[in-house]
Point group: C2
Chain length 305, copies 2
């Protein structure tokens, strides 16, 4: 089943201890699409400027990502410049230039409005609400956010939660949103405001999925080289929603497997700059890493054979 | 099978966001013994001063911990005073008074020298080596250390590694010892110097166990209230070695289950001050939490029934 994703389509300039790159394709919509396209059909809605190298998105189109909702507007594309030190868990933003993204008002094309799965990338909660007003009763809505919106659009964000099935955010954001330092309490706060599941991502320390009666944990894959963490969270979301859309399931077992798919896709994303690694992997690579995840946490006698 | 543990027996004064306590019984030997005593017979070697409230160790003796290697020497007991802020992952040491511990020269009583399992608590690596010279070919030697020894006794510590089967340390210590920021590389460095397994503990973020051909990860149990993290690492070690001693196994499946026993015992230790919680739990509590650990990471279809 198809997924509608609304998010940024940007140009990233990144410096890590292992290299640097300028104006690589990035953004939440881009990473999500690159990741989810391995599992499901994806409909992308976003905006770029006249300067955007659209031909670099061709690999996405070739993987079945429908780009007909990607508007090219007068002005410059959204650019982000950041740096990671050895602690790859946190980026230092050097410069953000919103460009045409500052005027982004997502209009969902007619042919996308029946998409049964919706992922609201990290944009203004008012726009996320506006997207939900344009779509026709999706089967599942997942949503990301960030510290900037928690601070500046708190009321809108809390209102949005009532209409979201799954909130994805990182540990610092969960603490900021809820005022609870303890993540179990933070999750309960969020679950009390609408979402049936909340996924709290801890970067290299893995991710929790909380629901009212269950908690699941998936570690991050212990890579020897994390090359560039940019886009890991959106790639996680792409694997997560992608798996649910592919299977059409929403039971607890499927949700848990979806988290592992998310971790798997996130672990690939960080192995190269931009979406490069996500564009070169195949089904067999994904299957192999899923098996490695299984072995990573297995301690049942029967799994050790 | 019985375990010989050599470590500190101290008096801890601790302040957390949830309360404070003075001169509670603590120390690596104490926490290890309290934890491991649920799984195996324990022989404790350590030193206390004339001021030590020995009657407070009676619950340990009642649980089968042999205290005949605990020497009472002239002088004051080892005292540690520390504080935890909301980030319970790191203690702030306010005061350390070594007292009689500064003159500690462990003498292993004759009746302990055949102990098949040995745990070298966090003491001077020269003393850890000295302990190994006094025991008769143990079946398994596990060892802890800390930043102070990595800095001041580096050569002795590296020499010790050749005689140790399993090294347990936290992520910061692993990075400091090896000069590698990446934990996969740090583990490989350590495995190249003797140990067949290395366990890298990440506090609330769980623990990795690396061996030459395998990596295992166990999350920390997501507690809603972490009351006092003091002793979590030694309680982890007690559960880990305790399980191995109880089963007599050293195969990969048993090692993995031992890590989960370690996480389980660590999760109990932090629920109260001192060894209070470890002294009140029963087999059924341990079994229940092990089952919760299983559910926490389960994502196989067959485990979801």
């Amino acid at each position: 089943m198809s997924i509608l994703v609304v998010g940024s389509v940007a140009l990233d300039s990144v410096e890590t201890p292992f290299g640097k790159i300028d104006d690589a394709i990035g953004g939440s919509g881009t990473f999500f699409s690159a990741s989810a396209s391995h599992l499901s059909k994806v409909n992308l809605v976003g905006v770029v400027g006249r300067d955007y190298p659209l031909h670099k998105l061709e690999p996405l189109r070739a993987r079945g990502v429908d780009l007909s909702g990607l508007v090219q507007a007068d002005g410059e594309s959204f650019r982000w410049r950041g740096r990671y030190r050895h602690d790859l868990n946190s980026a230092e933003t050097i410069e953000t230039r919103l460009g045409v993204f500052s005027q982004f008002r997502p209009r969902i094309p007619e042919q996308f409005r029946e998409s049964p799965y919706v992922f609201l990338g990290n944009i203004d909660p008012r726009l996320q609400l506006d997207v939900l007003d344009q779509v026709n009763r999706p089967r599942l809505v997942a949503c990301d956010t960030m510290n900037f919106w928690i601070e500046s659009r708190r009321n809108e964000l809390v209102a949005l939660l009532e209409r979201v099935d799954i909130l994805l955010l990182n540990d610092a954001e969960a603490r900021q949103l809820t005022g609870e330092y303890n993540l179990v309490r933070a999750a309960r706060w969020i679950l009390g405001r609408g979402p049936k599941h909340v996924i709290i991502k801890k970067g290299e320390h893995g991710a929790y999925m909380f629901s009212p009666h269950s908690v699941f944990f998936a570690p991050a894959y212990p890579l020897e080289e994390v090359f560039d963490p940019t886009g890991a969270g959106d790639s996680f979301a792409g694997g997560f929603v992608g798996y649910l859309a592919r299977t059409g399931r929403t039971d607890e077992a499927a949700m848990r497997r979806a988290v592992v798919y998310g971790s798997t896709m996130g672990s690939f994303a960080v192995e190269r700059f931009s979406i490069d690694r996500l564009m070169e992997i195949h089904r067999v690579d994904i299957a192999r890493r899923l098996e490695e995840f299984r072995r990573l946490v297995a301690f049942e006698e029967e799994l050790e054979a």
